[in-house]
Symmetry: C2
Subunit: 371 residues, 2 copies
C-alpha cells in the first residue's frame, strides 16, 4: 500500500527566509563534516510560538554529521496531531525551545548508520521512541537507542500514527481499572482516533462500549459507522438528557470506567453512566469547558476522577516499556483488527493539510504528511 508522492519541494509560504539557516536548530549540530553526514533536510520549522499558519515555514536544513552511534532516517510519514498545534502555539505544558522543527511522531526508513550501530540496518523501518519533537522533516539523525524498529507489513500512515493515539487508548484501557471480558466502558468523543481505537481494543477483549457523540447533522450515519467499528451502543448527547439514563444500557453492565476528551456537559453524561465506584479518565477537552461533579457523587457514588497524559509515560524507561505495546498495536493493524480514518497528504500540500488539521475546512480526517 506504499504510495508514491510528489517529493519535489516547491517554494511556498512556508519557504525559508534569507536568515542563516545554520542557526535555526540551536540544539542540533549540523555541519558539513568530513565524516559521514546526512543528506540536507527539508523541515517545517518555527522560530517563535504562535498560530501555526503564521509561524511555521518549510526550510532547507544543511547536512548533519552522523556520529558513531547515530542513525540517519529518511522520514516517510508523520501526522498533524492537535498536540503538535499546541506545541507550536506555545500553549503546551512542555514548551519546545525555539527555533524548532515541528512534529512529534512519525515513521521513516534507515538511510545510513554510524559505525557503532549494530541493531539497525539500512532499509529498516523505525519510529522515534519515545516520540520527540522534530518529525516534520525529510531526514532525521538520532542515536540508535532513540529508534524502535518495527515490521514493514503495515501501511506507513499507521506506523506514523501508532505511538500517540492508539497507545493512549491501549494504556487508558489498562492503567486505571482491571477490565475483564463481559465488562463495559463508556466514552465521549467516540469518533476521535483514540475513541475509535478504544471501541476496537475493548471489543477484542470482550468489553462492550457505550459511546457518546455530538449532536450534528449526519449523526445517524456516524452512529452506523461507529457501530460497524464494533461499538455496542452509540447515543448523541441529547438522547442522553433523560432522567433514567441507565435504562438505555439494556443488558450491558454499568461501566467501571469512562473516558472523557470533551469536558462540560458531555463529561457529566459519562459520569452519570458510570457504576458505583467507577473512574472517569480525562485525556482531552475539546469543548474547552471544565469538568464539574457533585459532592454526593464523590462521597456516596464513590466516583474517582483522573487524568491521562501519554507524554508523562514516556519519560525515563517509560518509552522502552511501551515498545512491545506498539508492536502489539501494529500486529492488530496488520491483521485488520485495528483501523481508523486518515488522509495521506504529500509534503508539498503541507499548507492545506495544516489548514485542515486546524479545523479551518470543517471536520476532516487525521492529516498524515507523506514525505
Amino acid at each position: 500500500m506504499q504510495m508514491t508522492y510528489l517529493r519535489s519541494f516547491r517554494a511556498s509560504r512556508y519557504c525559508a527566509s534569507q536568515r542563516p539557516l545554520s542557526c535555526i536548530l540551536s540544539n542540533t549540530i549540523r555541519a558539513f563534516a568530513a565524516a559521514a553526514s546526512s543528506p540536507p533536510s527539508k523541515a517545517v520549522v518555527y522560530e517563535q510560538h504562535g498560530s501555526p499558519d503564521g509561524v511555521v515555514r518549510v526550510v532547507d536544513l544543511p547536512s548533519v554529521e552522523i556520529k558513531e552511534n547515530d542513525v540517519c532516517v529518511r522520514m516517510m510519514a508523520s501526522p498533524i496531531n492537535p498536540s503538535d498545534i499546541n506545541r507550536i502555539e506555545g500553549v503546551y505544558p512542555v514548551r519546545p525551545q525555539v527555533p524548532a522543527v515541528a512534529g512529534y511522531e512519525g515513521v521513516g526508513e534507515v538511510h545510513s548508520v554510524g559505525p557503532a550501530v549494530n541493531r539497525l540496518a539500512v532499509g529498516d523501518w523505525v519510529i522515534p521512541s519515545p516520540p520527540s519533537s522534530g518529525t516534520w522533516q525529510t531526514y532525521m539523525v538520532k542515536e540508535e537507542s532513540a529508534w524502535h524498529k518495527i515490521c514493514k507489513e503495515v501501511p506507513m500512515e499507521y506506523a506514523a500514527t501508532i505511538t500517540v493515539n492508539p497507545l493512549t487508548a491501549l494504556r487508558m484501557l489498562g492503567d486505571f481499572v482491571k477490565l475483564t471480558s463481559g465488562d463495559s466502558i463508556v466514552q465521549n468523543g467516540a469518533t476521535s482516533i483514540v475513541g475509535q481505537c478504544i471501541i476496537q481494543l475493548a471489543k477484542i477483549n470482550g468489553v462492550s462500549s457505550i459511546n457518546i457523540i455530538r449532536d450534528r447533522p449526519g449523526s445517524e450515519e456516524v452512529k452506523e459507522k461507529t457501530k460497524k467499528l464494533g461499538a455496542d451502543l452509540v447515543y448523541t448527547e441529547s438522547q442522553l438528557s433523560m432522567k433514567n439514563i441507565k435504562s438505555l444500557l439494556a443488558d450491558i453492565p454499568e461501566p467501571h470506567i469512562g473516558f472523557n476528551c470533551v469536558g462540560g456537559d458531555s463529561a457529566s453524561l459519562v459520569l452519570k453512566l458510570l457504576r458505583q465506584g467507577g473512574t472517569m479518565v480525562t485525556y482531552g477537552g475539546m469543548s474547552k469547558k471544565p469538568i464539574t461533579m457533585s459532592t454526593s457523587s464523590f462521597i456516596f457514588k464513590d466516583l474517582a476522577l483522573r487524568g491521562f497524559w501519554l507524554q508523562k509515560l514516556m519519560t525515563g524507561d517509560g518509552a522502552i516499556a511501551c515498545r512491545p505495546m506498539i508492536d502489539y498495536l501494529l500486529s492488530l493493524v496488520r491483521r485488520g483488527e485495528l483501523k481508523y480514518e486518515m488522509e495521506a497528504v504529500p509534503f508539498s500540500d503541507f499548507s492545506t493539510a495544516l489548514d485542515k488539521a486546524m479545523g479551518k475546512l470543517g471536520s476532516q480526517p487525521k492529516q498524515v504528511i507523506i514525505f
Copy 2:
C-alpha cells in the same frame, strides 16, 4: 470528668403522643418478657422523614428482652452529627426505615448481659461498632459482637464522638497517599472537627498542614486558635485569591493530598495548592456547590479527585478493622494529644441542642447529648 446531669425526663414538645408505643420500632421486638429484659428506654424517634425539629419526638419505649448473646447498654452520651440530621430528613443515601430511633454513634455502660456473653461485663464502657442507627436513647440492646469495649479513662464526650469524625480524619490521612514525616497536607473547613483532627494527627506524624478557613468576622481569632492546635499555615479564602498562591507556602513543601468538605471555590483553592500528581479527597459539601476542575489540571497536573465515606468502610469486616484505630485515637485523647470543641448538653435540653446543631443559633460547637 464524668458529669452529672439531670436525668429526669421532662415532658417537652418531643414527648410521646398517645399512639401505642409498641408499634414504633417495627424492627425491634420489645416485650415484657418473662426472661431478663432491659429497663424501659427514653428515645428520640421519628415516624416519617422531614425536618428534624418537625418530625422527632422523645418517647418512652417499653422494655425489650435480652437474649443470650445480647448486651443491654445504658447510653451515656451521643453527638448530633450533620449526617444524623440528613438521615432524619431522608436525604441520606441510606434511608433508615421508619419509625426509627435517631442517632448513629455514642458511648454507654454495660447494664446487663445475656447468659452467653463472655467478653463484656456489667460496668464496661462500650461503643456501637459499626456505628448504627438508634443511639439517641437511654438503653440500647444489641448482640455482644456489635459492641466494642473501650478504656474508661477518657471523657465520655470523646468516647461518644470518636467513631465518626476523628476516624474519618485518620482514615483519610492514611487511605489515599503514603504520607511521611516532612510532607504536608492542605484542607478547607479546617475548623470542623474532622479538620481539627487532621491538623493534630498530621502534626503527630511530622506532617505540616495548610488550612483554609472562611472569611468571617473574628477570623483572626480563629486563625490563632487553629495555629495553637498545631496548624502550620491558616489562610482565609480571600487571602488565597492571588495569582502566585504557592508563594504563601514558604518552606512548607507542596502538599500531595488535600481534603475538601466545602466544595465550590473553596475546593478550587485546595486544588490550586496541590502539587503535581496530588489527590483531593472530598468528604463533605458545606457550600452545597459542586467541584469544578479544568481539563489541563487532570491531564498535565495529573490531579486525582476522590471521595470518602466512612459508612462504606463499616460494611462487612470493615468495622472490626477500625477498632484498633479507635483505640489509638482514644489513647491520643487520653494523653491530651487529640482534642476538639464540644458542648455537653443534658438530654432534657435536647430541643435546644437540636436547634444549635441545625444552625439555627449561629455557629456552635458540636452538640453532645448526655443521657
